[in-house]
Amino acid sequence: MPYFLRYPDIIFKLTLQHLYLVLIALSIALIIALPLAWFLNRHKRLSNIVMGFFGIVYTIPSIALMIILIPFLGLNEKSVIVALVLYSQVILLRNILTGLDGIPKTTIEAANGMGLSTWQIAWKIQLPLALPVILAGVRISAVVVVAIATIGAKFGAGGLGTLLFDGIAQAGRTDKIWTGAIIVGLVAFSLSRLALYLEKRFSYPV
């Protein structure tokens, strides 16, 4: 009997763990990226510096980044989540900035001239106008984060990576590797379909 039919409960638990890591990381990443990008959009010079910084972070191999974080955060899921958040920043920031840049100046001027406050413009005009591009960023980072989160198993965060690393450690257990790989793929695929659906849902005729 194939592995995933023998231990559905284990697989279910690992998948949930994995989803938890991914969704927590993505939520935190968005909560940081949205206001940060909004701020950087108004300060173009600072924007280049910050994007440069995250660009460098992005080139650090994921295992190395997590190891760097362990002395500060401990050998646990915290390090993993922080690493995932850092990775997704580049993609998210770039997309949110692109989305905000794509809004014509005159649209913002009209909103200003009508008497919308800065907050109302951000919430009622800029966010919905940039939303399709933002969601595209979420879709791409979701796939990246699902993949990198597998490494979390090495750092005590559990998740589907457990199957992969067990499979490597135990001779002849390629079935575990296959199961892990396929489910990781399915999770990534479903999340990106969900984001794609939302992208369509929140797009508007241009």
């Binding site: 014509p104 005159t106 649209t107 001027e109 009209a110 909103a111 200003n112 001239g113 009508m114 008497g115 919308l116 406050s117 109302q120 009622k124 005009i125 919905p128 106008l129 508007y204 005729p205 241009v206």
Partner: protein, 313 residues
């Protein structure tokens, strides 16, 4: 003091050699339409944007209905001023109705009142509410978009309208019909309007008074009639092509030249206050006594014109 008062208003941009607006003073009477006219770069937009405080003057003061606009909260000030720009700036993620409803909802109007306001305005600008309410801006023609832009500016029922080359990007035929509509609307609503254009015909057609700007300074501020008959200098004379009499007659209106009525109105042919003088002349030439009566929108006779009024002294 009602209306908009500019008191020695100047605007110096950083790093600019000369001020964009230089010591400009004039008054826009309540309910009148004033056109800011002048060549590109003369400071029209800058002057306009100081009224809703998108720019702040470097010197001088602007009063709205007697209140220094600097003493007003900026979003509150802007919500009582309708703002229309050439690029329209409709919000593409909102339907026509949502665009128009935005300011009323920020002003916390009740739902039913907002809905009926949206339909009322769409009807006013000649777009069928049933057909257009739920469309997105991208699903409208340029002229229709600008109509909606105008409706959106009127939505909160502001007393003041600022319009910056609203028809500058629209084809000639649509522009002409939009100009007619602005005149009708203005007859009906009597807003205090500041209207920027560098199209002289448009200025002469729409304006109660025209402010002519040159390199940031106000050169002349007067009615179309007085500008044409009494240009302050060569610059104004050339700008408005003051020497072409026939052209003047097509843009000047009955109310510009009418005198107090003295004839028995029954026997006279009647024209509206905003009928252009070319039509008036045509009527005069075909009336036996060479006098026409001018009526207001309710049909009451308010003046009369004979050939004499069309002749320059």
């Amino acid at each position: 003091m009602q209306g908009i008062v500019f008191d020695k208003v100047s605007k110096q941009y950083k790093n600019a050699a000369a001020p964009a607006v230089n010591q400009v003073s004039f008054t826009v009477d309540p309910g009148s339409l004033v056109v800011l006219l002048g060549p590109s770069g003369c400071g029209k937009t800058t002057l306009l944007k100081m009224v809703n405080r998108l720019f702040e003057p470097s010197e001088g003061t602007i009063y709205l209905d007697g209140v220094n606009i600097r003493d007003m909260e900026v979003t509150a000030l802007r919500r009582q001023i309708g703002y229309v720009i050439q690029q329209v700036g409709l919000f593409p993620h909102m339907t026509v109705a949502e665009n128009i409803a935005l300011i009323p909802s920020l002003l916390k109007w009740e739902k039913p009142r907002i809905q009926s306001r949206v339909d009322e305005l769409l009807t006013l600008i000649h777009l069928d509410p049933l057909e257009y309410r739920d469309r997105y801006p991208a699903q409208l023609s340029g002229g229709q978009q600008q109509r909606v832009g105008l409706a959106r500016a009127l939505a909160g029922d502001p007393n003041v309208l600022l319009m910056d080359e609203p028809f500058g990007a629209i084809d000639a035929i649509t522009r002409a019909s939009l100009q007619q509509e602005v005149m009708q609307l203005q007859n009906q609503l009597q807003k205090t309007v500041l209207f920027v254009t560098h199209d002289v015909e448009e200025a002469l057609l729409l304006a109660d008074k025209i402010a002519i700007l040159k390199e940031g300074a106000l050169v002349q501020y007067d009615t179309p009639w007085n500008l044409l008959t009494n240009p302050a200098d060569e610059f104004v004379r050339e700008l408005i092509n003051a020497d072409d009499r026939i052209r003047q007659l097509t843009v000047l209106k009955a109310k510009d030249v009418m005198i107090k009525p003295s004839h028995h109105e029954q026997v006279l042919k009647k024209v509206q206050q905003r009928t252009d003088l070319r039509q008036v002349l045509s009527l005069l030439l075909s009336s036996p006594n060479a006098v026409v009566a001018v009526t207001d929108s309710s049909g009451k006779v308010v003046g009369e014109i004979s050939l004499q009024q069309l002749v320059l002294e």
